[in-house]
Subunit: 219 residues, 2 copies
């Protein structure tokens, strides 16, 4: 049993939180306030005391591991509000994308090409072990890869700390990912690659007619 | 038999030119000069008179269809030098990527996120039927998809002219692509998606250890 913070009360945060609780972990969902309605609803669905809620700061203090499930455009500000002291030394699994919907659909990216949100987070919090992961798919697939093509497709991770990447790889296998489908790209600068998949992802969703698809790398 | 211009004398131009000649088409390879050494070498390998060379302008005048196989950073300037009168009304298959290697590897993109090279070409030459295609893979795979995973992987096309997209789809089937593996994304703005696959492609090449891999979309 580990203690996790899940920052964000949207679909992604709930889905990740559910899976972590299901795996027997203790999870505190973080939001701006300690009595967030969506978080309370999520807590109420789990009666065994392993689902908690608090502010971003509470959750980050509570968790030995942090899942960043916030909206990409607000991620840096939210992590700031969590207090760096609560993050330092911990593994932060960053599954956000810097999507900017201010001009409608399809979104652009707030940062891309010569930088990425993963790198921005790592640069702002140098003592945090940032691992970019799971950001290239619908959240239901993140925790249940078999939903698509019997699990035969790929996910990508990157981060500067090799031990942290291995730890996340192990967690992903608990989520149902086969090790051969977890492609380790190396340091956090590779999040430029995975985040820039998103402009393609949103267009493929249109062409495929569903968000339930995945990238598979074949040789 | 159709007449094609292939603009560019690099690996991509030669590979596309070879395939078109093999399919029985007449191909003029275009470069800056009418007596380019690489183009001459390519012409000499094809003794039956279906492989020709000339300037970008000569080739574009000659071809009823234009393959843009130039380096992305020079594409707009080269198309300018081909003379818009030689391009207007024709289908231009744009397989270039706006890769910028001036800061080494991995490259960044000269244009991305809120624009793309495909769109820039279409905007500059509004009477040309630009179809972005084949830009997301090694050139040997472009003309021989069976080189990877028995051809079981995907390619993407986009462009504003539906007839032109259908024509390119048909040509790709002659290249060996099964129709079900040619994903039509719609108008040329979708080249923002396919061009932004490149930052991921170059990183995957490192992780996979070879350029002979492909994206497959699975459901």
């Amino acid at each position: 049993m580990s203690k996790f913070a899940v920052l964000g009360t949207g679909m992604v945060g709930k889905t990740i939180g559910n899976k972590l609780v299901e795996l027997g972990h203790k999870v505190m969902m973080g939001s701006r306030t300690h009595n967030n309605e969506k978080a309370a609803e999520w807590v109420a669905k789990h009666s065994h005391g392993n689902a908690l809620q608090g502010t971003f700061e509470d959750a980050s203090r509570f968790g030995d591991y942090i899942f960043n499930c916030t909206k990409g455009m607000m991620a840096l500000e939210i992590l700031d509000s969590a207090n760096v002291e609560n993050l330092n030394g911990k593994i932060l699994i960053d599954i956000t994308n810097p999507l900017d919907f201010t001009n409608g659909f399809p979104p652009t990216l707030t940062v891309s090409n010569s930088n990425s949100l993963g790198e921005q987070i790592q640069a702002k919090f140098p003592e945090v072990k940032v691992v970019k992961a799971l950001n290239t798919m619908n959240c239901n697939i993140m925790v249940n890869p078999k939903l698509v093509n019997q699990g035969d497709h790929d996910t990508f991770i990157c981060g500067n700390d090799e031990h942290a990447r291995k730890w996340v790889t192990e967690l992903l296998t608990q989520f149902g990912w086969e090790a051969k489908h977890i492609i380790d790209l190396g340091d956090i600068s590779n999040s430029r690659g995975t985040e820039q998949l998103l402009p393609m992802w949103v267009r493929l969703m249109g062409a495929v007619g569903s968000p339930m698809f995945q990238f598979k790398i074949v040789q």
